[in-house]
C-alpha cells in the first residue's frame, strides 16, 4: 500500500543541514498495524507527517498504492489525502470554534459530500461513539478522553484506508488509553491500515510490526 524508498529529511539553515530522517525505506501492507517507536526527537512525528502527506521530504521516493506522491502537485496530493487518510494526534487538535457535530462534518465538507448524506454519516458516527448527547458542545467543554474520541471519529468519518495516530493516548489516563487502543485494534480488524507512534511497550504490542527510529535511522525489530 505504501512504499518509501530512501527517504531523507533535513532542515537547512545558513550553514548546516540538520538531518531528521536518513535513508528510510519502508513498506506498509494493506491491513497492517504498524508501530513506530523511539526516543523523543528521533523523527517519529516527521516520518508520520511525510506518510500523511502533510510535510515534504527532502529526497527519496514515496508511492501510495501506485501513485508517486513525490511527483504529485499539491492539489492531487490533497485529493489523495482527503480520500484515504485519517489523522489522530496526541493533542486531539479539534477546531475550537466548532461544535462536536461541526468538527465531524468538516472533512466531509472538504470532500464535497452532499448535505443530506453528510447528516446521516455524522449521525452514524455520533451513534457509534455514543456521543450523540455531546454533539452541540464545543471541544473545551469535553474531557480529554472525550475529545480524543471525537478526534478518532473525525478521522474515521471519511472511511479512510489508512489511520495515522501520533501518540494518540499520550494525554490520557491508562484506562482511557486502553479503550482507545482497543478501538484502533477493532478498526484494524475491519481492514483499516494503522500506523501508530508510541513510547509505551504495552501499547506497541497492539500492532503486528514494530519499527524503531533512533536519530533518524531506522531499524526494524521482529514481531
Amino acid at each position: 500500500m505504501i512504499k518509501l524508498i530512501d527517504i531523507e529529511k533535513y532542515y537547512a539553515n545558513k550553514f548546516v543541514k540538520t538531518f531528521v530522517l536518513r535513508n528510510i525505506s519502508l513498506d506498509i501492507q494493506e491491513g497492517e498495524f504498524l508501530t513506530i517507536m523511539g526516543p523523543s526527537g528521533a523523527g517519529k512525528s516527521t516520518l508520520l507527517h511525510i506518510v500523511g502527506m502533510l510535510d515534504d521530504m527532502s529526497s527519496g521516493e514515496y508511492y501510495f498504492y501506485d501513485e508517486p506522491v513525490h511527483q504529485l502537485k499539491e492539489k492531487d496530493r490533497t485529493r489523495l489525502h482527503q480520500q484515504n487518510i485519517g489523522f489522530v494526534f496526541q493533542q486531539y487538535h479539534l477546531i475550537d470554534d466548532l461544535t462536536v457535530y461541526e468538527n465531524l462534518e468538516t472533512p466531509l465538507i472538504y470532500k464535497k459530500v452532499k448535505g443530506s448524506e453528510r447528516k446521516s454519516m455524522v449521525a452514524d458516527m455520533l451513534d457509534r461513539f455514543s456521543i450523540v448527547a455531546k454533539k452541540d458542545l464545543f471541544p473545551n467543554q469535553l474531557s480529554g478522553g472525550q475529545q480524543q474520541l471525537v478526534a478518532i471519529a473525525r478521522a474515521l468519518i471519511i472511511n479512510p484506508k489508512l489511520i495515522l495516530a501520533d501518540e494518540p493516548t499520550g494525554n490520557l489516563n491508562s484506562k482511557q488509553g486502553f479503550e482507545i487502543m482497543d478501538m484502533l485494534k477493532e478498526l484494524n480488524d475491519q481492514g483499516v491500515t494503522i500506523v501508530q507512534v508510541t513510547h509505551d511497550e504495552k501499547k506497541a504490542e497492539y500492532g503486528n510490526r514494530i519499527v524503531n527510529l533512533l536519530d533518524g535511522w531506522m531499524e526494524e525489530s521482529g514481531t
Binding site: H93, D97, T106, Y110
Partner: protein, 793 residues
C-alpha cells in the same frame, strides 16, 4: 459550502469579540469618513453641471500683463453676438450693489442682485415658475425674483405685478419668479434686473473702456477656442477699447466647467478650489488606507493564533483554496458589517457635517454611483485588505502545528512596515494640522493690528451720506466713541483699481501698474489705527486738501519708486495734486493676496461718491460688553434720527475681515477633524495589536515574573518595540510633512515659518498616544498572576 463559510465566519467573529469589534469599528469609522468626504467632493464637482448648455457656455476673461481679470466692457457682449457667427448667445452680468427693498411695511437689505440680458435665461438653466421672460423681463422697471425672495416679501400672495420699493425712491415691478438657485451653482442671486435698467439708473460706466461687466457667451460647437478668442480681441480693438488697443490686453475664454473650481485670480468669485478637492480626496483615501492597514495588521497578527485552526483544517483535507475562501468570507463579513455601521455613522453625522460644510448633502442609497462607491469600498476593504492575511495564513504547512512553533511569523517584516507607516501617517497628519492652525493664527494676528480696539462699520444708506456731518457729530457725543470716518467701500474689497495714475517720474515700464484709489473722509487713518510714516494726514486746517491732496501707502511708494514722496506730484486721471503723506500698509484684504499699492484722497461729494461706502466708528479700548452694547444703542438712535426706511445695520470690522477666511477656516477645521479620526483609527489598531501581543506573551511574562522581573521591567519590555517603531515613523514622516506643508504655505503671500517644535510635538504626541494605548495592556499583563499565565499553556 458558502453557507458554511459564512456560518463559521460569524461564529469566529462572535467568539473573538475584542478583536472583531476593534477591527469592525476601525473599518467602519474609516469607511464613514471616506463616504462623508466623497459626498463633499462629489458635491463640489457637481457645480454648474445642471445647466443644459454647460458644454457650450464660456466666460470672457481679460488677460492683462499680470493676473487675468474677469471684467469686460458693456458693449462687448451684444457686439460679439452680432458679429461673430461662432457666438450663439451672449449676456452681460453686473452685480448690483446693496439696495434696500421694501414692500408695505417690510424692508430688507438685498445684497445679491444681478443685472443681465434676457439671453441669460436662455443660456443658463434657471427656470421661471411664474411669469415669463417675454412679459416680465423687458422694461427698465422689471424685476425677476427667486421663490424664497417672493416668500420673504409677499408670503402666500401672488407676487406677479407687485411693486417693490427701492431705497424709498422708486419702484420695481415683479415680472417673474424663478425656481430657487441650486446650491451647486457658482452664480448665486436673489433677483435679476434687465440690462435696460442700467440705462435708466447709471450705476457704472457703460463704455468700451469701463470693465464693469462679466460677459458670458454660448458658443456653437465644435469650436476653435484660439480662433474665437482672437476674433473677440479684434472686435474690441476695432471699437477702440483702450485697454485692449493700447495696453496690450486681450480676451480669452474660460469654460463654465472650470469657473467654480479654477478661479482665475485671487479676486475672482473664489468659491471652490480644485486644490481642496485634491487635499480632501487624499485625506479620504488616507482614512480608508489607515483603516485597511489596521485590518491587515490585526488579521495577520491573528494569523499566529490561527495557524492551529488552519493546520487542522488542512489535516482533515482542506486545500489552500478552501482556507483562502474561508478567511475571505470572514473578511467579507467584517467589511460588510463595517459598511453597514459606517452608513449608520454617516447618517447620524450628516447634519453636523452639513453644518460644518454649509452644504445640504444627503445620502441617497439608490443613486447608482453611491451604490457603486459602496460596493467598491466593501470590495476594497474586504478583499484587498484580506488578500495578504489570507495568503500568508493559508500557506502554512500543516506540520507547523505539530512543531508548536511559528518560525518566521514572530517578526513579519510587513506587519512592522504597516505599523510604522500607520504611525508615519498619523504624525504627518498631526504636523499638517499644527502648521495649518499656526498659519490661521498668523493670519489672524497679522490681518489686523487693532485687536484691542473695536471698530464698527455701518453702510452709508438713505440719509447717512447727505447728513454725514450731523451723524458724525452726534456719534462723537458718546464718550466711548473716539473717532468716526467714512470710506467709499469696505476695506476688504478691491475698489477702483486703476492704471490711470501718474506721478513725478513715472516710467513707460510702469504703465501697467495698478493702484487702488480710495476715497475717504477726514480722520480715516485715526479711525482705522493706521500710522503715518511720513508727512501728515488730511486735515480740515488745509482747505486745499479736498480733491487734490494724496496720501500713498508704503507699498505704493515702493512700487512707484518715489523717493522722498512728500511734496511730489501725483494724479488720478487728470486730477493732479501733491502727495502730503505716507501711511503704513494695512492688511484688511486676505493674506493670500499680495500687498496692494494704494492712493487715498478726500471725498468731494460724499453722498454720491460714498453711495456704496461705509461709516467707520472706533470705540475706545477695554470696554466691557455692556459698554459696547450701550455704544451700539447710541449708534442705532443716531441712525434712526436721520433714516426712515433703511433698517439699521452694523458689523464689527474684525469679523468682516475674518469672514474672508471663513471658507478656508471651515475646510481647515474639517481637515483637523478627519486627521483626528485617522489618528483614532490608528490608535484602535494599535490597541488591538497591543492586546494581542500581550496575550501572546502571557507565558513569557509569567516566566520572567517567576524569575523575579519587576512590573515596570515587564512594561518596559512591552513598550520598547513600539517606541522604536514610533521613532522610525518620525524619520519617515518629518521630511514628507515638511515638503507637503511647504507647498501649501506657498499659497499665502504672507506665511508663517514651520519650526522644529511642530515636528517634535507631533512625534511626541504620536508617542504618547501609542504609549497610552499599549500601557493599559502592558500593565494588565504585567500585574497578572504568573502561575495563572503558566497554567494557561
Amino acid at each position: 459550502m458558502l453557507k458554511n463559510y459564512l456560518k463559521f465566519s460569524l461564529r469566529h467573529i462572535r467568539r473573538n469579540k475584542i478583536y472583531s469589534s476593534i477591527n469592525i469599528i476601525g473599518l467602519a469609522i474609516g469607511i464613514a469618513g471616506f463616504f462623508l468626504i466623497m459626498l463633499w467632493v462629489q458635491d463640489e464637482l457637481s457645480f454648474d453641471k445642471f445647466h443644459e448648455n454647460r458644454d457650450s457656455i464660456y466666460r470672457v476673461v481679460c488677460e492683462t500683463k499680470g493676473e487675468p481679470f474677469f471684467g469686460s466692457p458693456a458693449p462687448l457682449a451684444p457686439t460679439i453676438a452680432n458679429e461673430l457667427p461662432e457666438v450663439l448667445r451672449s449676456t452681460r452680468l453686473y452685480r448690483v450693489p446693496r439696495f434696500v427693498f421694501g414692500y408695505e411695511e417690510k424692508s430688507f437689505y438685498e445684497d445679491n442682485g444681478i443685472v443681465v440680458d434676457p439671453a441669460f435665461f436662455h443660456m443658463f438653466s434657471f427656470p421661471f415658475i411664474k411669469g415669463s421672460l417675454e412679459t416680465g423681463f423687458t422694461n427698465p422697471d422689471h424685476i425677476v425674483i427667486t421663490e424664497s425672495m417672493a416668500q420673504k416679501y409677499f408670503g402666500a400672495d401672488d407676487p406677479i405685478n407687485k411693486k417693490i420699493n427701492v431705497e424709498g425712491e422708486g419702484f420695481l415691478v415683479v415680472g417673474g419668479v424663478l425656481k430657487d438657485i441650486p446650491a451647486n451653482s457658482h452664480l448665486q442671486f436673489d433677483y435679476a434686473l434687465p440690462y435696460v435698467f442700467l440705462q435708466d439708473v447709471r450705476l457704472c460706466g457703460l463704455e468700451w473702456g469701463d470693465f464693469n461687466f462679466k460677459t458670458y457667451v454660448q458658443l456653437n460647437l465644435p469650436l476653435n477656442q484660439e480662433d474665437v478668442q482672437k476674433k473677440i480681441t479684434q472686435i474690441a480693438i476695432d471699437n477702440d477699447c483702450p485697454q485692449i488697443k493700447y495696453d496690450g490686453f486681450s480676451f480669452s475664454l474660460q469654460s463654465l466647467k472650470d469657473m467654480y473650481l479654477h478661479p482665475i485670480s485671487a479676486y475672482d468669485i473664489q468659491l471652490g478650489d480644485m486644490k481642496y478637492i485634491y487635499i480632501f480626496s487624499i485625506v479620504a483615501l488616507l482614512l480608508l488606507g489607515v483603516a485597511c492597514i489596521n485590518f491587515i495588521n490585526l488579521s495577520t497578527a491573528r494569523a499566529i493564533v490561527r495557524v492551529k485552526e488552519v493546520s487542522i483544517r488542512k489535516t482533515v483535507g482542506a486545500d489552500r483554496r478552501h482556507i483562502i475562501a474561508q478567511l475571505w468570507s470572514e473578511f467579507f463579513v467584517f467589511a460588510l458589517s463595517a459598511s453597514v455601521i459606517a452608513l449608520a455613522i454617516v447618517q447620524v453625522a450628516m447634519p453636523y457635517f452639513n453644518q460644518l460644510t454649509e452644504k445640504q448633502l444627503a445620502l441617497h442609497f439608490m443613486q447608482p454611483h453611491m451604490l457603486i462607491l459602496m460596493i467598491s469600498a466593501i470590495c476594497c476593504c474586504g478583499l484587498v485588505a484580506g488578500l495578504y492575511p489570507a495568503i500568508s495564513i493559508s500557506v502554512f504547512q500543516p506540520v507547523r502545528l505539530m512543531q508548536r512553533q511559528t518560525m518566521g511569523l514572530n517578526s513579519p517584516f510587513l506587519r512592522r512596515l504597516l505599523v510604522v507607516s500607520q504611525f508615519a501617517l498619523s504624525i504627518l497628519l498631526i504636523v499638517c494640522t499644527l502648521v495649518v492652525a499656526q498659519q490661521m493664527r498668523y493670519i489672524h494676528d497679522k490681518s489686523w493690528t487693532l485687536r484691542d480696539d473695536v471698530v464698527l462699520h455701518m453702510p452709508i444708506k438713505e440719509n447717512i451720506g447727505i447728513k454725514f456731518d450731523v451723524v458724525k457729530n452726534e456719534l462723537l457725543l458718546h464718550p466711548n466713541i473716539v473717532a468716526v470716518s467714512a470710506k467709499d467701500a469696505l476695506p476688504t474689497m478691491l475698489n477702483n483699481n486703476t492704471t490711470g495714475v501718474w506721478w513725478t517720474g513715472k516710467t513707460d515700464a510702469q504703465n501697467s501698474l495698478h493702484i487702488e484709489t480710495i476715497r475717504v473722509s477726514h480722520d480715516y487713518f485715526t479711525t482705522m489705527g493706521l500710522a503715518l510714516t511720513e508727512g501728515r494726514a488730511f486735515s480740515q486746517d488745509f482747505s486745499d486738501d479736498e480733491g487734490v491732496a494724496y496720501i500713498l501707502n508704503e507699498e505704493a511708494v515702493r512700487q512707484t519708486g518715489l523717493s522722498d514722496p512728500v511734496g511730489k506730484s501725483f494724479a488720478l486721471y487728470r486730477r493732479q495734486g501733491p502727495i502730503i503723506g505716507v501711511v503704513q500698509d494695512s492688511y484688511f484684504h486676505t493674506l493670500k493676496q499680495p500687498k496692494r499699492p494704494q492712493a487715498f484722497y478726500l471725498f468731494t461729494n460724499l453722498p454720491r461718491e460714498g453711495f456704496f461706502g461705509s461709516v467707520f466708528i472706533r470705540i475706545s479700548k477695554t470696554q466691557s460688553h455692556a459698554d459696547v452694547q450701550a455704544v451700539i444703542s447710541h449708534i442705532e438712535s443716531v441712525w434712526r434720527g436721520v433714516n426712515q426706511i433703511a433698517p439699521f445695520e452694523y458689523h464689527f470690522l474684525d469679523q468682516t475681515i475674518q469672514k474672508q477666511y471663513q471658507d478656508e477656516q471651515r475646510l481647515m477645521f474639517l481637515f483637523g477633524i478627519f486627521s483626528a479620526v485617522a489618528i483614532l483609527i490608528s490608535c484602535l489598531g494599535l490597541f488591538g495589536l497591543a492586546t494581542f501581543m500581550a496575550e501572546r506573551r502571557t507565558k513569557e511574562i509569567g516566566i520572567r515574573k517567576a524569575l523575579g522581573s519587576t512590573v515596570p521591567g515587564v512594561i518596559m519590555l512591552l513598550t520598547r518595540s513600539f517606541a522604536t517603531w514610533v521613532l522610525i515613523a518620525n524619520i519617515i514622516a518629518w521630511p514628507l510633512a515638511w515638503f507637503i506643508m511647504n507647498k501649501w504655505l506657498q499659497n499665502f503671500v504672507y506665511r508663517t515659518e514651520m519650526t522644529w517644535w511642530m515636528f517634535v510635538l507631533a512625534g511626541g504626541m504620536a508617542f504618547v498616544i501609542a504609549l497610552l494605548t499599549i500601557s493599559w495592556q502592558a500593565i494588565r499583563a504585567a500585574t497578572a498572576n504568573p502561575v495563572e499565565a503558566l497554567r494557561y499553556e
